[in-house]
């Protein structure tokens, strides 16, 4: 097995709770995502959040993205301090509560502004990224080439296929430069070939930066597990209203992470069965 270490906490969910009126949707959600370091590699993190329909995956997704305030609890992220705040300081990182805009968010329906061409939408995001100053256009074109949307840059969202819309959304959020990338059901509605491409693409993204962290919300357990290093399962505990994390599985320990042909292994099958039993 490849050597690795888990170091600092990149994201921490503390005692998350969400209710609508008297109805409890989520309760007592605690987890953390740590930076994984593998010698010689820029290994990002890929975390899957699985659960049955109606278990509150999308709600948790919205809380993680900062778009929805939890009833109580908080999401703390670690971020690189802006250089001007602490010149010469040793501590380069600071912790703070998540805000909308911190995360790259890819919604389930890949919504884009209907009045902007793909090119404009991508440039809007690139201009938000201070690190890209002066080379927004070039970086955008680079991504467009890599993700195969170069031919559709002049089109409007309503003229794109579902797969194209998804890629545009992903590029847009990558250009924005957030370390975290949240994806709601990225595998739904894709045919097998496109699915493989998306999986490959996400893997590529996860290897592009040490701190890149993908959080994938999905009910396609097999695909999610195949590309993740950690799986969190949302489910019910008996006699309690609302959902919580009933299980978390470290796929690295089981030797199931970062493998191309993981689906052929017996342990992969067993893990899937185990997850299904928890749902």
């Amino acid at each position: 097995m490849t050597p690795y270490t888990k170091t600092e906490v990149l994201l921490q969910a503390k005692d998350l709770q969400l209710s609508y009126g008297n109805k409890c949707i989520l309760h007592d959600i605690n987890f953390s995502i740590r930076d994984i370091i593998r010698p010689g590699l820029q290994q990002g993190q890929v975390v899957s959040l699985v659960g049955r329909s109606g278990m509150g995956k999308t709600q948790l997704f919205r809380i993680l993205s900062g778009l929805q305030k939890p009833t109580s609890g908080s999401i703390i992220i670690r971020e690189r301090k802006p250089a001007e705040v602490s010149p010469g300081s040793i501590a380069v990182f600071q912790e703070r509560a998540v805000r909308p805009g911190d995360m790259g968010v890819i919604f389930q329906n890949y919504y884009q502004f209907g009045w902007r061409t793909v090119r404009q939408s991508l440039l809007l995001a690139a201009r938000r990224n201070k690190l890209l100053e002066g080379k927004e256009e070039d970086t955008m074109l680079q991504y467009a080439e890599q993700f195969d949307v170069i031919d559709i840059l002049h089109r409007y969202p309503s003229q794109l296929s579902g797969g194209q819309q998804q890629r545009v959304s992903i590029i847009q959020q990558l250009l924005k430069g957030a370390n975290f990338l949240l994806l709601d059901e990225p595998f739904s509605g894709l045919d097998v070939c496109v699915l493989d491409k998306v999986v490959e693409l996400l893997q590529q993204v996860s290897l592009s930066d040490e701190l890149k962290t993908l959080i994938i919300v999905s009910h396609d357990i097999a695909t999610a597990v195949a590309i993740s290093d950690t799986v969190f399962i949302l489910g019910r505990t008996k006699g309690v209203e609302g959902s919580t994390l009933v299980r978390s599985i470290d796929l690295i320990e089981r030797g199931l992470a970062w493998q191309k042909d993981v689906r052929r292994e017996r342990e992969f099958e067993e893990t899937l069965e185990e997850i299904k039993a928890c749902l």
Partner: protein
């Protein structure tokens, strides 16, 4: 042709409309209602109107006034609609919307006191009449904006002002044309009324009232036809302009 949701080609549609219009004109010509002039009479009145400068002059007066009033109305509407997402101005915008229920006739006296001359009176009355309708339309557009548009802004790290600019000012610019288009009819209707108040400058409304006074029905109907035609023309023009300026309103899956 009689099946719900059935799609027919543009050409067939035009032929169908042509036949329908022809049929109605035929029924009208042959029906024995004595007081209402027949299409041939209207046509000759129309021909006569088109032959004189009278029509063109009055038409220009009316059109100029309408366009002027529309321009001001659009500006006023946009300012208040954009601001309506700010709570402080929301109430103001709501009040403007409710002003639809004020009738212009009751306000003429006040406006006469407030304005200098007849043309100012007409203009301000028109603007006052149009703005509530424009605002109603545009506020509905703003209310229909799905939360997702704002959420995408948030994920891109936009401030609230930037979101307002992107989603409402830029994103709904094409709807301004739709708003004008939908309410052009109302403006057009008001102009005939307002021009009746101050006949000295003429205008198509003044002309209409004059013909009505002399019971010259063929001319009244001919004028109506012209007003109708101009309305249709502007409707078409605004639609065309919208598609031309905002190509995404035409974008369909290819």
């Amino acid at each position: 042709m009689f099946k719900p949701f059935e799609k027919i080609s543009k050409q067939n549609f035009l032929i169908m409309v042509g036949l329908q219009v022809f049929f109605i004109l035929l029924v009208w010509q042959l029906s024995p209602i004595g007081l209402i002039p027949q299409p041939t009479h209207v046509l000759s009145a129309l021909g006569q109107l088109l032959g004189t400068r009278l029509l063109i002059d009055n038409l220009l007066v009316s059109l100029l006034l309408t366009l002027q009033a529309m321009l001001y109305s659009i500006l006023i509407t946009l300012v208040f609609s954009y601001l309506s997402v700010i709570p402080f101005f929301h109430s103001v915008a709501q009040f403007i919307v409710k002003c639809r229920y004020l009738t212009l006739t009751g306000l003429i006296f006040i406006f006469t006191l407030l304005t200098k001359d007849g043309s100012q009176l007409k203009l301000s009355l028109l603007i006052f009449g149009i703005v509530p309708f424009f605002t109603t339309s545009f506020l509905a557009v703003i209310l229909r904006i799905p939360a997702q548009e704002y959420e995408l802004c948030q994920t891109l790290g936009y401030s609230r002002w930037e979101s307002l600019y992107e989603v409402i000012v830029i994103g709904k610019a094409d709807q301004v044309f739709e708003m004008v288009r939908q309410n052009f009819a109302i403006a057009w209707m008001m102009i005939t009324m307002v021009e009746g108040l101050n006949m000295s400058e003429g205008g198509i409304g003044a002309l209409l009232i004059k013909y009505n006074k002399y019971n010259d029905l063929p001319h009244v109907i001919a004028l109506q036809a012209i007003i109708f035609g101009i309305g249709l023309f502007f409707d078409y023009l605004l639609g065309l302009l919208r598609h031309w300026l905002f190509p995404y309103t035409m974008a369909h899956k290819k």
